[in-house]
């Protein structure tokens, strides 16, 4: 290492490698990314956010929400789920006995234990999920048998993982963020992931109340309150239609009302526009309408 220039050159190559790999390559690879097609449909994903929601992203950025929230749902894999819809003429006990008779089948050998456990606690309520497996062939075999026995069942593809389904129904994919700037994926989950919060908590009033006083919706919430995004003002000739509906201990003094500022409305529009709920080729699932309340 006597020759300064040789060292300099080698350092440039070593460091430049990571620059080419982690900066230039993704820029080229993702630079031409287009909208994705939604599975079994001709619609494209994602749609451009509305103007209000796009402004809301700037409010989200300005207030540093990303310091506590991520917008990336992770997924371990997919599973096939067999759901019993209708028993038709079969009685629940007979159905149980029928399923037990299937346990000798070699193609179901892998799942007999879980099947037995599921059916054990089952009282005949419908619809019910009787089998979840990561092997599509097993699920198909099961649904064929059920069909032959004359009961109605459906097979769905569902995403699995720790974040699913509580924060979203599939993983986040690059396409979800195609139009965003700045992309706020985040690094730390002090609070829940927000990638699908618009589908999960679609009530704008709930969102406004939560921003105004998080402890109102969630006891002992550690989320800071964002009262500065709201105006407390004297009620004029008539109460504002925007005014928050607050319980007593959170309400302002008599004759006053809490009205969201423009920023708060934009922020909520952005939150409600956060959805990761379209099935895509790279993140497939079969839509289940009843999974959400």
């Amino acid at each position: 290492m006597r020759n300064g220039f040789a060292v300099f050159f080698a350092v440039v190559v070593a460091l430049g490698g990571s620059w080419l790999g982690f900066v230039v390559a993704p820029t080229v690879q993702l630079g031409k990314a287009k909208q994705a097609l939604i599975l079994n449909s001709t619609d494209t994903w994602p749609q451009q956010r509305t103007g209000e929601a796009t402004l809301g992203l700037q409010v989200y950025r300005a207030n540093g929400c990303a310091a506590c929230h991520t917008e990336q749902i992770r997924q371990d894999g997919v599973a096939a789920e067999v759901t019993l819809i209708a028993l038709n003429k079969t009685k629940p006990e007979d159905f149980k006995a029928f399923v037990q008779s299937l346990f000798i089948l070699p193609e179901l050998a892998k799942v007999t234990n879980t099947l037995a456990a599921t059916l054990n606690g089952w009282k005949g309520d419908l619809p019910t999920t009787i089998l979840v497996t990561d092997d599509k062939a097993v699920a198909d075999a099961m649904s064929d048998r059920l069909k032959a026995a004359g009961v109605k069942s459906e097979t769905h593809i569902v995403a699995t993982g720790e974040d699913i389904p509580r924060w979203g129904i599939r993983r986040s994919v690059a396409a979800d963020f195609l139009y965003d700037f700045p992309v706020q994926l985040g690094n730390l989950r002090v609070g829940p992931d927000l990638a699908d919060v618009g589908a999960r908590l679609p009530d704008a009033n709930w969102q406004l109340q939560h921003l105004y006083a998080p402890t109102l919706s969630v006891t002992n919430s550690a989320m800071p309150s964002f009262k500065f995004l709201f105006d407390v003002r004297k009620i004029g000739s008539a109460p504002s239609p925007d005014a928050l509906n607050l319980p007593k201990q959170f309400a302002p003094a008599d004759g006053y009302e809490v009205v969201p500022k423009l920023e708060a409305k934009e922020l909520v529009a952005y939150l409600l526009s956060l959805r990761a709920d379209a099935p895509l080729y790279e993140a497939p699932f079969s839509p289940i309408t009843s999974a959400k309340p």
């Binding site: 620059w19 993702l30 207030n63 540093g64 700045p182 690094n187």
Partner: protein, 470 residues
């Protein structure tokens, strides 16, 4: 390396040439460190009383936390590191600092940039990218000042009498090259009107974060330690070959880290990341061996002085590297990813490793800059204790919070206990940094008074005949 010391006149001259630039860099760094830690304490109060700043947009958590982090890195770590670097380069070259006025101007521009950045974040103007929150104007000031300081450093390097490069040279030169590279790339791609599309933004942001916090701080911190450890321990670095090996493996593997597992990006990125982090164990072992063999059994007693700082800091570095590896290997990644564990590693790297190593170096350098040395030499030892306890409390409690949170499926309540203890850790750091600030400000004021006295004496004194004579 020691010939400069033997030649006392020249060593004193070199130190004198570094005086003003270093005081400018260290003084600002001390101020930002105190302010940054204060903001960090305030931010962590959110977890005691979330309603606290409900009416104050400036002090909402989402402003305080990034502002505090930026002050620790841009306000303190980088200028302090550059100051130490300038001194080391001058000493290794056995030459006075070239163009000392340039780093003085650059230091002031730098601190102005940090001030603009801080004000912008608190007013909600952050760019929204981690470690790049500063607006364009501030980023430009920082970039220009860095290049100016690097220019003075490289010019001083060019003055060296011996052609031979020392291990410290490799690390520090690479750092001088790498910061402008990553900082300009990240700012040009992200903090602009024409950003890259979609998740590429996040990828570049992660790449930058890793290269700034892990690689850049490691290059400077380890380079500085490799200069001072042998000097203080009174024996050569063990060994040059290991150091070379550690250097290359560090820049080859360390620079490919930062992408979380399961992020919505092309799958080869997280895979590369996991692979590179496993390989990172190689430079870590090499560095651990070097430090251990150089330090172990050395006759030096540390007594809370620079030697203690350096030893503790290097241990923290190894730990921080191991934590990085642990959080990247696929099995553990799922438990600790997106939890406070990552923050624990970051703070261990910035405060436990970098700040402590740099303080070791600063306390070695400061007494030589001015006659009379430190105004309060006892503070050095006290600060060492504050920083050590602060590291244990802060990093320990954040890591604990992270693991608990990961086990409890990100239940926000699981982390609260750890976060409240962390406040104490921040406070310890704050006290420690106040001691440093007092020392350096009293020192600067004394020096300015002395300067003023000489100037006044000079003006008052009658013209001496000797001055007129040729």
């Amino acid at each position: 390396m020691n010939s400069a010391e033997n030649n006392l006149v020249s060593a004193a001259k070199i130190d004198a040439s570094c005086r003003v630039p270093l005081l400018a860099l260290f003084g600002g760094a001390a101020l930002w460190l105190v302010v940054g830690l204060l903001l960090a304490v305030l931010a962590s109060l959110t977890f005691h009383a979330p309603e606290m700043f409900a009416h104050c947009p400036f002090a909402t958590y989402g402003h305080l936390a990034p502002a505090a982090n930026d002050l620790l890195v841009y306000g303190f770590a980088i200028p302090a590191g550059l100051g130490v670097l300038l001194w080391i380069f001058a000493r290794l070259s056995q030459a006075e600092l070239v163009l000392p006025l340039i780093p003085v101007v650059a230091a002031n521009l730098w601190h102005l940039g940090v001030f603009i950045g801080l004000a912008t974040i608190l007013c909600g103007g952050s760019s929204g990218f981690t470690w790049l929150e500063f607006p364009r104007a501030a980023a430009m000031l920082l970039g220009v000042s860095f290049v100016l300081i690097a220019f003075s450093a490289v010019a001083t390097f060019g003055q060296r009498k011996a052609r031979e490069l020392y291990p410290a040279h490799w690390f520090l030169l690479a750092a001088l090259l790498w910061f402008p590279w990553i900082y300009s790339t990240a700012n040009l791609f992200l903090v602009t009107t024409w950003p890259v599309r979609g998740v590429t933004q996040a990828i570049i942001n992660w790449w930058f974060a890793d290269n700034l916090i892990f690689v850049w701080l490691a290059l400077v911190g380890v380079g500085v330690a490799f200069y001072f450890l042998p000097k203080i321990a009174g024996r050569p670095l063990h060994s040059r070959f290991y150091a070379l090996f550690a250097f290359w493996t560090l820049i080859l593997f360390g620079t490919w880290i930062g992408i979380p597992q399961g992020a919505p990006v092309p799958a080869w990125l997280p895979t590369t990341n996991a692979f590179a982090s496993l390989l990172l164990v190689i430079p870590l072992i090499a560095i651990a061996v070097i430090v251990f063999k150089t330090v172990w059994g050395a006759p030096t007693v540390c007594k809370g002085g620079p030697f203690c700082y350096l030893r503790f800091g290097m241990t923290a570095f190894i730990l921080s590297g191991l934590m990085l590896i642990a959080s990247a290997c696929p099995e553990h990644a799922r438990t600790v990813e997106f939890t406070w564990f990552g923050q624990a590693q970051t703070q261990l790297q910035i405060l436990g490793f970098f700040a402590i190593v740099i303080f070791g170096a600063i306390y070695e350098i400061l007494p030589r800059l001015l006659d009379g040395g430190l105004p309060f030499p006892k503070f050095v030892r006290v600060q060492h204790w504050f920083f050590m306890l602060g590291t244990l409390l802060l990093v320990g409690s954040l890591a604990f919070a992270g693991v608990k949170q990961g086990r409890a499926a990100y239940d926000p309540a699981a982390a609260i206990m750890g976060l409240r203890i962390a406040t104490m850790g921040w406070t310890f750091f704050l006290f420690g940094s106040l001691l440093f600030a007092v020392n350096i400000f009293v020192m600067t004021i004394r020096w300015k008074l002395a300067l003023a006295k000489t100037v006044i004496a000079y003006i008052k004194s009658p013209l001496e005949t000797s001055e007129v004579k040729p």
